[in-house]
Symmetry: C2
Subunit: 393 residues, 2 copies
């Protein structure tokens, strides 16, 4: 039987990512493919590096997109910086800290876990205590913006703790980059990875990373070869590096990089500060609307991520039925809870191009309609006024 | 300084890949992004698996696209099938055998190298001798279609040798898939990886792989965890597998998979046999034209890949100047020689959508013009007639 071409519906993507990709980025994506060693492509690579330096607020020379999703960006940081026998302090306050532990162990390292409740930020006191107990720790790894819970941790304080203890820091900025401040140089962060499908509003599949000079030195001084050939930064550097003659390493995902370039050009046009302010304003409006409807947020106000809003599912409401109705009747995707929060929270993303007044209004309208139909006890007719009050403030 | 949007030229891609991507595939690529857990996306994933089974001529359940380039597909095969202490027979007759050796060693295995000259196929006699000398070898790894030299090796015979010796086989089919026969089940191949940017004529960045039941059993019986979390097939299976409930592993490259799906639909529409015949006919026409011009092929006729034609660079001709003129004056990309063949050969691809009569004619015309301008001693005016004779035969 012959298979037909696939024509996806036009969803509104307000889950934990991918977020809505703008027509401008989709247009760039589908431009004619050129060779990955074409001189014009090499220029494009240089521009992407500079634009990523802007997004990461860094002058790190080793700043580039890994040709694979954020999980591979995470792995690139660990396999290059962990050697067998190393002790790594790993902070876990959601799904992704657990994945970091897996990475450390698969590199032959020992993970010292610092655990905080899902929905809480990483405790700097616990991290300080972990360094006191494990002074040999060579790395501190944590998630800046926990995609599974919608919580922001204090990256600046955590990077400083790593430095004070002679350790390098690995920072997961998958959901934070371009949505809230990610100040790589000001924080003194050493290895930071992100993803394209969150606040950059680019297609999923690429992972921007940046490494400090200290991290580069540790990589260059390794005695063990990096266990991954594909993610070995010494080899990747040879292709992306500044030298005139680039060494072939792998075939770059040419069209995906057109799209990343365009999304970064758009970020530069808007400006980081304006992008952060937009994310914050839309977040406040969404929260005002949700609370006016009688719903409650899962994360304390001071730790909330503006780009990912965890909402408590009201008692008696069928989680799956609500999300299915939003998807089927409104083409609106919101995220389910993950792990310990499955069935307890929804995750509403306002990321990148999807962080708009229109989407705030659309989401509140659709959610109110679906919850009403499901017989949930919510307050009707108040959400949009509450959101509007924020927009017009 | 603000960076501008990037508008690539319309090249004709006749190098070793990426090859020309058809407008149909680029159109699919830029359709609206949907969520990676969207029920419609899950259906798309199922269709891609079936279409890849068709392309690989296999019923292997574990057949799917790795979310990263061919180099990562290679690594996925090695990290899942090699355990520390394993002996692996690795055949090297070009660049990619050397990369396989790196993979084995980074997995803690020992690579027994079987070396053949660049431009020659893998010698089955040497492989037989290697198994006799290393009966404990648990894997045989070889490249079916060497992208660096344009040589085809006898995959059927090599897979049979592996089976006879109780070993599994890892087959690099990056350049072969959809250009020449890749009969995974008929050969009894155990782990086969490919790339999207060669004869599938899809954008670069994704690596189709397939694993036999024997390979799956070896993966399930591992005592060491796979060193890569991102490429651990037991985890990847949980997301791509047949079970009703898919476990989140990583965010799939949604749009890239739209494109892969479309390129596979196009392959199914044309039919494998017709695609192979087209590649062969255009290859014969190109060779006839090149030889009529007075150029010579670098590989013996019986070992040539129709999709990648290695041509000897005539004495006294400036390799780089010719390729630059083709690119700048004709927007035509052909490939340089790699490694031992740098400066000695060109690699002219006729892959997937780029394998057309028009491209054969265009390449012959452009090459003749540029070589004439460079003062090369070629025979003028004979190439197109020679090619036409093949087309009209």
């Amino acid at each position: 039987m012959m298979t037909s071409s696939f024509f996806p519906p036009q969803r509104t993507l307000m889950g934990p990512g991918p977020s809505d990709v703008s027509p401008r980025v989709l247009g760039a994506l589908s431009r004619p493919t050129i060779g990955h060693l074409d001189p014009l492509f090499v220029q494009l690579m240089d521009e992407i590096k500079e634009l990523l330096q802007y997004a990461f607020q860094t002058e790190n020379a080793l700043t580039l997109p890994i040709s694979a999703p954020g999980s591979a960006g995470m792995e690139a940081c660990f396999v290059n910086l962990v050697s067998p026998g190393d002790t790594v302090i790993v902070c876990q306050n959601g799904v992704f800290g657990g994945r970091m532990k897996e990475n450390v162990e698969r590199c032959g390292g020992t993970a010292v876990m610092v655990e905080d409740a899902w929905g809480e930020p990483v405790s700097t006191d616990k991290v300080r205590a972990a360094f006191a107990e494990h002074p040999q720790a060579s790395l501190l790894a944590f998630v800046h913006a926990e995609t599974s819970t919608g919580v922001r941790s204090d990256a600046q304080a955590l990077c400083a703790l790593a430095r004070e203890n002679g350790a390098l820091s690995i920072v997961d900025a998958v959901t934070s980059l371009a949505g809230i401040e990610v100040k790589v140089d000001a924080w003194g962060a050493d290895a930071v990875y992100s993803g394209t499908q969150k606040c950059l509003s680019c297609i999923p599949g690429i992972s921007p990373v940046t490494f400090s000079q200290r991290a580069v030195e540790r990589i260059q001084n390794r005695s063990h070869k990096v266990q991954s050939w594909f993610l070995d930064m010494q080899l990747v550097m040879g292709y992306w590096g500044g030298s005139a003659k680039r060494a072939y390493h792998h075939t770059a995902p040419v069209n995906d990089l057109y799209a990343l370039h365009e999304s970064l050009v758009m970020l530069q046009e808007e400006g980081l500060e304006a992008a952060f302010a937009r994310h914050l304003r839309n977040h406040r409006a969404l929260v005002a609307g949700l609370e006016a409807m009688g719903l409650s947020m899962a994360v304390a106000a001071e730790h909330r991520l503006p780009q990912l809003n965890a909402v408590n599912i009201p008692a008696g409401v069928d989680d799956g039925a609500v999300r299915a109705a939003l998807l089927n009747d409104y083409d609106l995707e919101i995220g389910a809870g993950l792990g310990a929060l499955a069935g307890k929270t929804w995750r509403i993303g306002l990321m990148g191009s999807a962080s708009t007044e229109r989407n705030v209004v659309y989401c509140l309208t659709a959610l109110e309609a679906v919850l009403s139909r499901q017989g949930a006890s919510i307050k009707k007719g108040a959400a949009l006024d509450a959101a509007s009050a924020v927009f017009s403030a």
